[in-house]
Symmetry: C2
Subunit: 197 residues, 2 copies
């Protein structure tokens, strides 16, 4: 029999190559050839492992969401339990080195746009959107009354997404992400400070 355990390795290589291609060429110009070439494999392999280009695209998004979720979980385990610490942690996870890489940023934005017209991707985005809000809401609610926590969580979630979008499109993404993280924390801290007055 052929080498065993290749399946997962090949799938991961193809997913990485997909993000490389999207980051470099854009979703528009990413083809099964541009992906398979980057992965050092042939075009036919994509249908073999993912059933087709569409399946690979969805798997790549799922992988990005997994990374984001894992990043958050690991950081949360390492941080303190105060609302301020946990909120900082959520922000940091959303602006972590990986997330702020041009590769992830461009891939992410491409998925966002495409998810408008593809139910499979849309469902994944909705889950992620809800997760960010829910995490923020939980920590705010430990300090603020319910309605204020809801407002703050919505505002913080939108601010994170907005900064993220603006940074991804920025001329200097690295510097922009850096500043964004600071601005988001500033907002959260002011909201928490206002709670005790």
């Amino acid at each position: 029999m052929p080498k065993v355990g290749m399946k997962d390795a090949r799938r991961q290589q193809l997913i990485d190559a997909t993000m490389d291609s999207i980051a470099e060429l854009g979703m528009q110009n990413t083809t099964i050839v541009s992906i398979s070439k980057r992965a050092g494999m042939s075009s036919g392999i994509i249908s073999h492992y993912f059933g087709g280009k569409q399946g690979l695209i969805e798997a790549a998004l799922r992988h990005l969401l997994d990374l984001l979720g894992t990043e958050l979980r690991e950081r949360m385990a390492r941080t303190g339990s105060s609302p301020a610490q946990r909120l900082d942690c959520i922000i940091e996870a959303n602006f972590s080195d990986f997330q702020r890489s041009a590769l992830a940023a461009k891939t992410w934005l491409s998925f966002w746009a495409r998810s408008m017209h593809e139910p499979g991707l849309q469902r994944l985005q909705q889950i992620n959107k809800a997760r960010l809000y829910s995490n923020l809401r939980y920590s705010f609610a430990e300090v603020l009354p319910a309605s204020q926590a809801t407002t703050a969580a919505h505002q913080a979630a939108a601010m994170i997404d907005g900064f993220w979008l603006r940074s991804a499109l920025s001329q200097d993404p690295a510097a922009s992400f850096e500043a964004s993280e600071h601005f988001c924390k500033d907002f959260v801290h002011k909201v928490l400070a206002g709670a005790s007055t």
Copy 2:
């Protein structure tokens, strides 16, 4: 001679048809046939008036930016001159009926994603991004010290874009836009209230 004055009318019809098609099918599935069919014209007319599909896409984005700019200017002329009034006005313009329509929202997001890999579109987006920040910054600076005004303007701009993005992808865009406008104003008002303490 052929009917005169058709040029501008036809161009506008094609731009409208382009946004219809992008809203319905997505940028991905928008073709010169899907556009020209919606405009009730033949496929060749696009090259005749815009030099090609790419030219039409850019013209459509320029049109969206014009509408947003005009909307803002007209509202500004009608509103008071206090910073609070002007900031509210900026928010309202960004969440106006036209902007919040599914058609504009989906078209806008498609342009955002595409602009990452097309310099022509990217330039237009940068100008628009800078305009929103600059308008916000100007009004905040009338009440806040420079560095605080800068922070508030960045935060407000990101919040507007973020809410806009989340609403466009929402299951119920109309309700989401409505709430977003409220949340943005709430943020701005709290920032201004904090200035007098």
